[in-house]
Symmetry: C2
Subunit: 339 residues, 2 copies
């Protein structure tokens, strides 16, 4: 089986790649080759696996060639993030819309040449939901909540969901869209996603650094650990179209937590001194963006696929610590407390 992961050098993509390589199979078939396409080369541990090949550069230019390689499945994760899209409208359209169109059209050409429709999982986002003033956002966004995105990123994700549903209806691909919740705790540096602080307020204190929380402790949000997120992507790939329960996107399971719950969990796992490194400094711009976001999500269709949210946020914090302990950067990432 030949699998392509776009965005395969990113945090979620590389973790998915490691999971697939460790499993060795997907949908009951042996994984022979895993192509990781990204602007950056994949991490060294992935490149060291003989099954891994890298395709480095802009996906828009690579898409047609990639779709003509031997290919049985695609995880399409590559995306410009929300903050990038707000700062550079053209970049967002190019990276998120034009690139997806190029990939879908190349896969369609492939099917027109007689190949079986390629199974494709698209990582959509809870960012498709928002208010449409004067109508507020639903308190809990569900699979069938009407999406009215309030960012360019959310619009791009929603547009791609519907294009993928249509290419699937026509038989050009076997596509499925899964809406990722905010993935927490991300390692490394803050990125330009407005949601970046949801990881920062856990990651920085554990590293011994001060973290700024720009929103109120009462702010509630649907999050998911990296491991549960990968479980979701794999399950959506492996499901039959019937089990998916519709061609439109489904929500992946969310743990709906308040910032104060997150910090209580951080304290329970890592101690009071760690929690006290988080300072609340309201940022009206970030708070304004977050006010338009879902405060919680449900995931009925994903649950029918057997997927579950994280048990609680302490489990999410412990997952992050265990991941760090296995990584070469453990000493600096966990410099702020002793296990």
């Amino acid at each position: 089986m030949n699998i392509l992961i776009t965005g395969g050098a990113g945090f979620v993509g590389a973790r998915l790649a490691r999971t697939l390589l460790a499993r060795g199979t997907l949908a009951g078939r042996k994984i022979e080759r895993l192509v990781l396409a990204d602007l950056q080369p994949p991490p060294p541990d992935l490149l060291a696996d003989a099954r891994v090949q890298a395709r480095t550069g802009a996906l828009l230019e690579h898409a047609a060639a990639l779709a003509n390689e031997p290919l049985d499945g695609v995880f399409h994760l590559a995306s410009a993030v929300s903050g990038e899209c707000e700062l550079d409208f053209d970049l967002g359209l190019r990276a998120n819309l034009d690139t997806t169109r190029a990939l879908l059209d190349a896969l369609r050409q492939r099917a027109a040449g007689g190949a079986a429709p390629v199974r494709l999982v698209f990582s959509s986002s809870v960012a498709v939901f928002g208010p449409d003033p004067p109508r507020p956002i639903a308190p809990i966004v569900a699979d069938d909540t009407r999406p009215t995105p309030q960012t360019s990123y959310g619009v791009h994700k929603l547009v791609c969901e519907h294009l993928i549903a249509d290419y699937t209806r026509k038989g050009y691909i076997d596509g499925r869209s899964a809406r990722l919740m905010t993935v927490t705790v991300r390692p490394g540096k803050p990125n330009r996603a407005a949601s970046s602080f949801f990881s920062g307020i856990i990651r920085e204190p554990l590293a011994g650094l001060e973290a700024i929380c720009p929103v109120s402790p009462e702010t509630s949000h649907p999050v998911s650990s990296p491991a549960r997120t990968i479980d979701g992507l794999v399950a959506v790939f492996e499901a039959t179209q019937e089990a998916m329960g519709g061609r439109t996107a489904l929500n992946l399971p969310a743990l709906n937590v308040r910032v104060s719950d997150m910090l209580d969990a951080l304290e329970a796992v890592a101690g009071r001194a760690v929690r006290e490194r988080v300072r609340f400094v309201p940022d009206p711009m970030v708070a304004g963006i977050v006010a338009n976001w879902a405060r919680g999500a449900s995931a009925e269709r994903a649950q029918r696929l057997g997927l579950k949210p994280d048990a609680d946020f302490a489990a999410v914090v412990r997952q992050y610590i265990e991941d760090c302990e296995r990584s070469p950067a453990a000493s600096s990432a966990l410099a702020g407390f002793s296990t």
Copy 2:
């Protein structure tokens, strides 16, 4: 005031042009120039008006130049219809998505050069609604019903609604999307829209021709006369963003009627002999498409703008007859009965 109508030589576009020229003003300003862009040149009566200019050819190639002409408002009606999009996937993407993107990006460049955001009304469609099996379509689709289109045409319309909302949010245009109901009675020949028979079963019998109805008499559908549809487009142009009640698309008012109601009205207006020219010959392909369509629609936001549906279907039939009587083709269009 300089106004552009894309699809300005089509049935709805030309009627909108006539309405605007007769009014002489739009949003309280005098109409100086009306540019009609279409694949075909506009009808002679429109070309004869000194305020009218034609731009004939593919909009995709004209869009950038059009947006750099003096311009205060756009009615973006140009579109490949549902049947065309199902037959030619590339044509649909090009005519409906790429063309709208080109137009929006040209308007954005214009605003970047310091011009005021151009007000733009986009003609979306009730075709954005559909079932997402196993979930059936809502019995009555409302402004806030979740759209899950089941045709490429419906997907394109929905995608454009969201792009227009995003360009508006960013201040690049002042965009509004109005979902047209099935416009009935259209004059002329049947077209490739699967909904074409909704006009044919009235138009052909009045012309003395036999008409085939491919669906059951119990089939219910939201329709609107041409005049009420134009009223809707003009009102949506003239409304403030606040009065629009959201950036997402609104439904225009619908008369929800069954085929049998339509034929009862035809008989009441034109007599039993005319009605008896309609034969029911089930077409499983058309019936399959129509089964995925809305059986009725509501239009709460449009009603708040003062818009109303047609009073009843007899009024729709009478409007068609009166329109024919004013046209040069009256004798053949109404050959099937005597008024």
